[in-house]
């Protein structure tokens, strides 16, 4: 058959093809091609980033040059003090840091606890509770934010940090799910050994299981860090006075009546991005792990 014979032909020529450019040269050529493709892709992802950095170091004349240039004619630092002084930058930064700290703490108290109970303890109602976790993982925030806003309004907490902190202490479905998957892989013998020694379930959890779960917990802590650090919607809804603003809300003050101060804005953006980047660089391993886990299951 014609189709079959071409397949065979391909098979025959695919492997030891006669040495035209030489196998070693071909190998090098292909490797070079791979690098060129990867460098082009990297450039596409990096260029906007480079624009942010170079704009932050440009003079106003440079920023508004026609045609636009990627690199500054003259590198200056002026935009950074301008950024920090033109708004209560420090206050916004402290507010953001406080929210991050408390949200990470809340998540680490609640999520592993619930996840462990769902993964390792056998009890009536467990599957029902686990189902509620799965079902709410996809719940759009918009469905609940109106009643929640009214609830917080009723207790006089709109405008304070409480609506942005308290929910973390009651668990986030996504993290509970992620940690449950991890705990499911911890051997039962650990808990049984603890039971034989007469330890309570809480002590087994705190002293035997949690130390085993460091990588998973680190993953969740990093996710929560970045999520709170970059959050925009909740601060937008709940924080209505400037002394409570987070950085994500405060950056808008660079959009003035008479145009945007791009230099200071990009400098502030850079300062805002660096902590998220730093944690990414330090903990890249956990990021990749966490992303892979969440993607696969």
């Amino acid at each position: 058959m014609a189709a079959n014979s071409t397949l065979v032909d391909v098979a025959r020529t695919a492997e030891p093809r006669p040495a035209r450019p030489g196998p070693r040269r071909r190998y090098l050529g292909r490797r070079l091609g791979h690098h060129v493709i990867l460098i082009l892709i990297s450039a596409a992802f990096l260029v906007p980033f480079v624009v942010m950095i170079t704009t932050a170091f440009k003079t106003p004349d440079d920023i508004f040059s026609v045609p636009p240039r990627l690199l500054p004619q003259r590198w200056v630092l002026d935009n950074f003090p301008a950024a920090v002084q033109s708004m209560p930058f420090l206050r916004y930064l402290l507010n953001t840091a406080l929210l991050v700290l408390l949200n990470v703490a809340g998540t680490l108290v609640s999520c592993p606890l619930v996840a462990y109970g769902l993964a390792k303890l056998h009890w009536r109602g467990r599957s029902v509770i686990f189902f509620t976790v799965l079902a709410t993982m996809m719940l759009p925030a918009q469905v609940t934010f109106i009643p929640l806003y009214l609830l917080w309004d009723r207790v006089g907490a709109v405008g304070t940090f409480w609506p942005l902190i308290i929910p973390a202490f009651f668990g986030t479905p996504f993290y509970i799910f992620l940690l449950r998957q991890f705990f499911a892989g911890v051997p039962d013998s650990l808990r049984e050994a603890g039971l034989i020694d007469g330890a309570s379930e809480l002590r087994i959890y705190l002293q035997l299981v949690l130390p085993q779960a460091k990588p998973a917990i680190a993953t969740v802590a990093i996710f929560q860090f970045v999520a709170t650090w970059t959050d925009f919607l909740l601060p937008l809804i709940y924080l209505n006075s400037e002394e409570r603003y987070t950085l994500s809300i405060g950056l808008y003050s660079f959009f003035g009546q008479h145009g945007v101060e791009w230099g200071p804005l990009m400098a502030a953006c850079l300062i805002f991005t660096v902590p998220a980047l730093a944690i990414f660089v330090v903990a890249q391993r956990y990021f990749v792990q966490g992303i892979a886990v969440t993607g696969m299951k």
Binding site: V8, A11, A14, H34, I37, L38, I41, S42, F45, L46, V47, P48, F49, V51, S65, V66, P67, P68, V109, L113, V114, Y116, G117, L121, W123, R126, I129, V133, T136, M138, P140, A141, Q142, V143, I146, P147, L148, L151, F169, F170, G171, I196, G198, L202, W229, T230, F232, L233, L247, V260, C269, F272, T273, A276, F280, V281, V288, I291, G295, M296
Partner: protein, 308 residues
């Protein structure tokens, strides 16, 4: 000495029932107070008219009916549908292409992977303001690049034909997470399958279509569902692109950037039409559920779960 496990079991309950419940207490409370309760209440609100200051007044289905006569509502649905239907599949395809490149057997792969993932870490506010600058018609660098390669240079954020493509570019800048997930899946395709395909004489494209792609379909299903759910809720990029002083309810040129959740937000917090907003929230809720269901049903025809 009695075995502690039997002592516990001897109390009449199954071992660990009380403990299990205790461990889950935070979630059970959180679920009731922050999720189940508000979901129910928002359904009730969707049948009422109220504005935060007065008690809700029952109006039946009037909120739902009014929405479909509302030009802006229809506009927001169409805008969002465009971003989801065009943006998500193309975004997945791009992420897959990037992942295939990242999977090349070259040195420095972790570095390339980190670079691709980098924009996904950038706070959405920063990213959007940055793109507002990059897309600037006069001083932005994007059009400068287009000029260099001889392409037309649209006024991205002011021309209503180009605002949505601009949003797609911004969201595609952040596909690193999806690419990394695809990369992990690619690395798990059993090597024997490729060897078998090579023995059968399959070339690059056939190898991809008959070996790689089937192995990637479960991940694609997951990414498609998550991507669509995120896309129909897109808020921050469009909100930040259209943000302007003195106009709290902006929608970009010709309302071309008014997305569904933006209009929901305007209804709730700018116009204080809470009932209307709750109705929109519930429509969104149902659409997301339905979408997920349809994709899951269709997945039986295109998703392959390997025997391993």
């Amino acid at each position: 000495m009695p075995d502690p496990a039997t002592v516990r079991a001897g109390r009449g309950r199954r071992p660990g029932t009380r403990a299990g419940f205790a461990f889950s207490t935070p979630w059970i409370i959180g679920f009731c107070v922050f999720m189940a309760g508000p979901i129910g209440i928002s359904l009730y609100y969707s049948f009422t008219e109220f504005n935060l200051f007065q008690e809700p007044r029952w109006v039946g289905l009037a909120n739902y009916a009014a929405l479909f006569d509302d030009q802006k509502f229809v506009r927001s649905v169409l805008n969002t549908a465009f971003l989801a239907v065009v943006g998500v599949p193309l975004g997945l395809a791009l992420a897959l292409l990037v992942a295939l490149a990242l999977n090349f057997p070259v040195r420095g792969q972790p570095l390339y992977r980190a670079v691709v993932y980098l924009p996904a870490i950038v706070p959405v506010v920063t990213a959007t303001y940055l793109w507002r600058w990059v897309f600037n018609a006069q001083y932005g660098y994007f059009n400068q690049l287009l000029d260099k390669v001889g392409l037309p240079q649209p006024n991205w954020l002011a021309d209503l034909a180009w605002t949505k493509p601009a949003v797609l570019i911004i969201t595609w800048w952040g596909i690193g997470g999806t690419a990394v997930i695809y990369l992990a899946a690619l690395q798990q395709v059993p090597q024997q399958l490729y060897e078998a395909a090579a023995v059968d004489g399959a070339n690059g494209w056939r190898r991809f279509w008959h070996v790689t792609w089937p192995a990637l379909t479960p991940v694609t299903l997951f990414q498609l569902i998550m991507g669509l759910i995120a896309a129909v809720q897109i808020f921050a990029p469009t909100y930040l692109l259209t943000q302007s002083r003195g106009n709290a309810a902006g929608g970009g040129p010709g309302d071309s950037l008014l997305t569904y959740t933006m209009y929901l937000f305007h209804n709730a917090f700018v116009f204080l039409r809470m009932g209307q907003a709750a109705a929109m929230a519930w429509i969104l809720f149902l659409v997301i559920g339905l979408l997920t269901l349809v994709i899951l049903i269709s997945s039986k025809r295109w998703v392959h779960y390997g025997s391993e």
